[in-house]
């Protein structure tokens, strides 16, 4: 199979983003553009988007035993403890799998994340260490509220990977409709969607709804940890979205997830025979054989075998079709990863 080249930078004109439409029922795929969503989606279809903003999750710092980088893996739990993955010396310019491991830091160790200035600088304490990997820890910062958020945005950067050309400014690491910063990495399927396009879809009768899903890190370079991804993630499903899904189901129209994180949020919120509104942690893992209860199809990046996202896609289309479509995408110059092109995996007719 041909490999997909990664996009090294966001395209200046989002409307040029390519869209590979895969129809699982017909077993076909077809080249399109993101702007063709206007015809690929029909009046009454429900498009659910993840409006989570992107955390300034990459925090360089130093410990008693040397340089580290802490990458926040999501928002804090109820106890105020932030999940984070530790890396050794280096930066996003190094391939994740080549990053040096962090020094062995146990609970009670302190990490200095900011040079002392007007105050002593942001610090965090390791308050827990995961049994999955010693690199997955719980951090407690030395401040809270606006002092903490100001400090995080002062020193933190969006998480990014070595195939990118330059350091990402915040506006490239956000969707155009981002709200509460809960995601460790941008929910990237929504990135090429301009606000004007969303308004156009709405004007054509496509219904829009949101979930806020705390998308976690996509890669850590730690085999034990990578095998456990995605970790349990926080989802907020508004009651308006539940109503919109119920309406679509009753009307027999399609529910389209704007990204794999939306699939996880919606399918994870299906409990006791219905979609439940509210905040919940989902540990749901979706792969071949999973029968979606809520989602008819999805808008997603192009994912290759070996990625957990590729497993998820097999709940919506057979592996052979996904592989053929991916091969076509690679030979046709589609770009991969979070700033790349998209695919729409959606059948014309509901099963």
């Amino acid at each position: 199979m041909s490999a997909l080249a990664p996009a090294a930078w966001p395209v200046a004109e989002a409307s040029l983003t390519r869209l590979l439409h895969v129809d699982p029922t017909r077993g076909t795929y077809r080249d399109a553009r993101i702007t063709d969503l206007e015809t690929l989606l029909r009046p009454g279809d429900l498009l659910v988007l993840n409006d989570a903003g992107t955390l300034p999750a990459s925090l360089p710092g130093w410990s008693r035993l040397g340089l580290i980088e802490a990458r926040l893996a999501g928002p804090p739990g109820g106890s105020g403890e932030w999940p984070a993955v530790l890396f050794g010396a280096g930066s996003w310019r190094d391939r994740t799998e080549d990053r040096r491991p962090p020094p062995e830091l146990g609970t009670g160790e302190r990490i200095q994340l900011e040079a002392p200035g007007p105050d002593r600088g942001l610090q965090a304490e390791i308050v827990s260490v995961s049994s999955v990997s010693p690199r997955l820890v719980g951090l407690r910062f030395d401040r809270e509220g606006s002092a903490l958020w100001s400090a995080l945005y002062r020193i933190g950067q969006p998480v990014q990977y070595s195939y990118l050309r330059a350091t990402l400014p915040f506006w490239h690491a956000q969707t155009a409709f981002a709200g509460r910063p809960l995601a460790a990495e941008m929910p990237s399927a929504g990135r090429p969607l301009r606000v004007s396009q969303l308004r156009g879809l709405r004007a054509r009768g496509v219904v829009l709804a949101v979930v806020t899903h705390a998308a976690g890190l996509s890669s850590t370079g730690d085999p034990a940890l990578d095998a456990a991804l995605p970790l349990p993630e926080l989802s907020l499903v508004p009651s308006e979205t539940v109503a919109a899904v119920e309406h679509a189901k009753a009307a027999g129209t399609r529910v389209v997830a704007g990204g794999t994180t939306v699939v996880r949020a919606l399918e994870g919120a299906w409990r006791d025979g219905g979609l439940q509104a509210g905040a919940a942690i989902t540990a749901l893992r979706i792969g071949p054989g999973f029968a979606p209860r809520v989602v008819s199809g999805l808008l997603t990046g192009l994912h290759a075998p070996g990625e957990s996202h590729f497993e998820l896609l097999q709940a919506f289309a057979p592996r052979s079709l996904l592989e053929a479509a991916l091969d076509h995408a690679a030979t046709s110059g589609y770009r991969g990863h979070e700033f790349g092109d998209l695919s729409l995996i959606l059948s014309e007719a509901l099963p």
Binding site: S146, T175, G179, P181
Partner: protein, 242 residues
């Protein structure tokens, strides 16, 4: 809109009308992000609001700095959730004492536009996508009489306020359907430090109190009969509030 429980971001909130608005919105139940360049007076205002039982958070930022805007909105949203109400109050007069355009340096003119026009544009851009998707939101720009009348010495400021009015009008035209509204409010002459800097000889007794103007604006926002998006209003013509 009912202000209770809404996430509101107010710029220029360390003194004058901005501080009064931050306090008024918080006392009506909004969760307020108070923004200004200088942290110390801002934190004082936030402490005052909290002392009165309101929710407020201080974030120091310069809206004239492009790189500051996304971190500001990110931190604000992390604290109170997606912004429902954006109040564009911060502005600069430019160099004091005011000077005629013929004596205004190009760089000073550019700085006034950077703070009074581009800053608001960037802030709107950073919050409006979420408003559109959620189908609701309000953006209020604080304008000035100098936006519609030419006064000697007020050129740079007046141009920036006229442009701000038109910026909001243009946003309103583009997003006419969809639940997001844009309003300009001319607060009238108020007894503030900015006014004293611009017109040191003014009779303070003839000037409105910023707290009274803030109450009128907050009541306008909560009124059932909202003016149409894109409207420009004069605070002195709004219903006085007891």
């Amino acid at each position: 809109m009912q202000l209770s429980g809404k996430a509101a971001l107010v710029t220029g909130a360390s003194r004058g009308l901005g501080a009064a608005l931050a306090g008024e919105l918080a006392l009506r139940g909004a969760r307020v992000i108070a923004v200004a360049r200088d942290a110390r007076p801002l934190e004082g205002e936030v402490a005052r609001i909290r002392g009165l039982g309101g929710e407020a958070h201080a974030l120091a930022a310069d809206q004239g700095d492009k790189d500051a805007v996304y971190p500001l909105v990110g931190a604000a949203t992390g604290l109170v959730g997606p912004i429902d109400l954006l109040v564009l109050n911060a502005s600069t007069l430019g160099p004091i004492p005011l000077r005629e355009l013929v004596d205004t340096e190009c760089e000073d003119f550019a700085r006034v536009l950077e703070v009074n026009l581009l800053g608001p544009f960037r802030l709107i851009k950073a919050v409006v996508g979420s408003m559109v998707l959620r189908g609701s939101g309000t953006v209020v720009g604080i304008s000035s009489d100098a936006a519609v009348n030419g006064y000697p010495g007020w050129g740079a400021y007046g141009v920036s306020k006229a442009a701000l009015d038109h910026l909001l009008r243009s946003w309103a035209a583009e997003l006419a359907a969809g639940g997001v509204r844009f309003l300009s409010v001319d607060p009238g002459e108020m007894d503030t430090r900015m006014h004293a800097e611009a017109m040191p000889d003014a009779d303070r007794g003839a000037l409105a109190r910023p707290e009274d103007v803030a109450r009128r604006i907050a009541s306008l926002l909560e009124a059932d009969a909202s003016p149409p998006s894109g409207a420009r209003l004069e605070a002195t013509a709004l219903e006085p509030v007891a």
